[in-house]
Assembly symmetry: C2
Homo-oligomer: 268 residues x 2
């Protein structure tokens, strides 16, 4: 059986997080997809790949504007919820088509048509089909979506929730988080010039590190670095190692997929 690698690409890397309208950084998207294609052609005999991408300007703007992450109040919210999903499907088509150009059998994976949330947390999601897709050699491409929430009507199922859920329910070797920072720092590197990169986090040093990880700076309805690392620490118990890297740097996604160690590694 092949190893499973889950690559999470933050919206900040290619989907213009700070734009005031849905926008793609086409150059960044093409580069990332080329890097994934290069790596995939070398590792595909021994590794399966799931890609999970964030929404950036395709998600955060409409969610902030409509407040659907807090639930449904009226018919307008319902229309906004459906519109948000359609917008994410558009983004996913752009991403999967670019991946296909680079030889990846990129199969859209919507998540929200089978996921059930509860007060903003992912309660259940089916993994039978995705396990089968991996078996035949497809590369499923999941993405942040609005989803049914049994407590509040709907909430946001982010890529940062989907990736660890899949890692937990499918035997996963490694999760690579491509973000717009070089890894986890002792403080927010965008705010604090003295922030230092932490090369390795384990359950032993995590408590000391926590204080500095007070969430990422830019607009992000899905929560920041603390939430991300907390989830990844829990996954090490299941045998899945994580690596947080800077996906905006040329070649870093490719190198990480090929197994090079840099950025921040989170292991047992």
């Amino acid at each position: 059986m092949k190893d499973l690698i889950i690559l999470k690409i933050g919206g900040s890397v290619f989907a213009c997080k700070d734009s005031d309208k849905p926008k793609i950084d086409q150059k960044a998207l093409e580069r990332i997809c080329r890097e994934i294609g290069n790596a995939h052609s070398k590792i595909k005999e021994k590794s399966s790949l799931i890609i999970v991408h964030g929404a950036g300007s395709y998600g955060h703007l409409i969610v902030k504007r409509t407040g659907i992450d807090k639930g449904i109040k009226n018919n307008e919210d319902l229309l906004a919820l459906a519109e948000t999903q359609r917008l994410q499907n558009e983004l996913n088509l752009i991403v999967t088509k670019e991946l296909a150009k680079n030889g990846i059998p990129a199969f859209p994976f919507q998540s929200s048509d089978h996921a059930v949330m509860s007060a903003g947390a992912l309660k259940s999601m089916s993994v039978d089909a995705i396990a089968g897709m991996l078996k035949i050699g497809l590369t499923p491409v999941a993405y942040g979506v609005p989803a049914y929430d049994e407590k509040q009507g709907c909430s946001i199922l982010s890529g940062d929730q989907i990736a660890p859920y899949l890692a937990q329910h499918l035997k996963t070797k490694k999760i690579i988080h491509a973000t717009d920072v070089d890894g986890v720092y002792t403080a927010d590197p965008k705010m604090d010039r003295n922030a230092k990169l932490i090369p390795e986090i384990t359950s032993k040093n995590f408590d000391k590190i926590k204080a500095g990880l007070s969430g990422s700076v830019s607009t992000d309805v899905t929560g920041g670095m603390l939430k991300k690392v907390t989830g990844l620490i829990a996954l090490t118990e299941k045998g899945a190692e994580s690596q947080i890297i800077n996906g905006t740097r040329i070649g870093f996604v490719e190198k990480a997929l090929l197994g090079e160690v840099f950025g921040t590694t989170i292991r047992r």
Copy 2:
């Protein structure tokens, strides 16, 4: 609790089944969506709605060309499989956007990210999320897709399989099949001038009718009328009544959603 109506719209009604490239009959799509919008505004307090649409020229061509309905043989098939799914998502976006213009909170429902097939038959699919979507008032819009098949790698999960599966697993009052014929005939009305419309089919008269239903004429990888009616007969045992109508005729979809009886009714 609201009644559930499932509306299946055949690809032949709006997606140019006989075109030699993926093509939408824009005028037909706009009319159908307007009719659904008109009906939805009148019935939404008492009825939930699921829409399932076929693929027409968006599906049959690529499937015939690549043979992915018979499974996966090589890397090219894998790329074709992923491309087929992306093409269906494009079609679904066109349909859901047109529905949204008519006031429908049309939420894409991909099916293939949780469905498991076995030798071409739908084995399992998650209905937890769709039940929740209906509860909050969304209109899920499912569509024919290529899906993982545990026996042959992949196969086609058609709208004609999705609709009865959902009907069986969600308490359903009525399934409306909008096709390009006026209902079920004693023989194929496109081939035989003496074919007569059958207004009502029950398990009692079905055996006599079977002989005439030897499958629809035009290119269709999903099987013809016989398969459709056989499935609908089985559903009457679950309390779900079906109606087969001509969706190419102006006003027929709207009238059927409003409860008018015409075409062929399949009941217990």
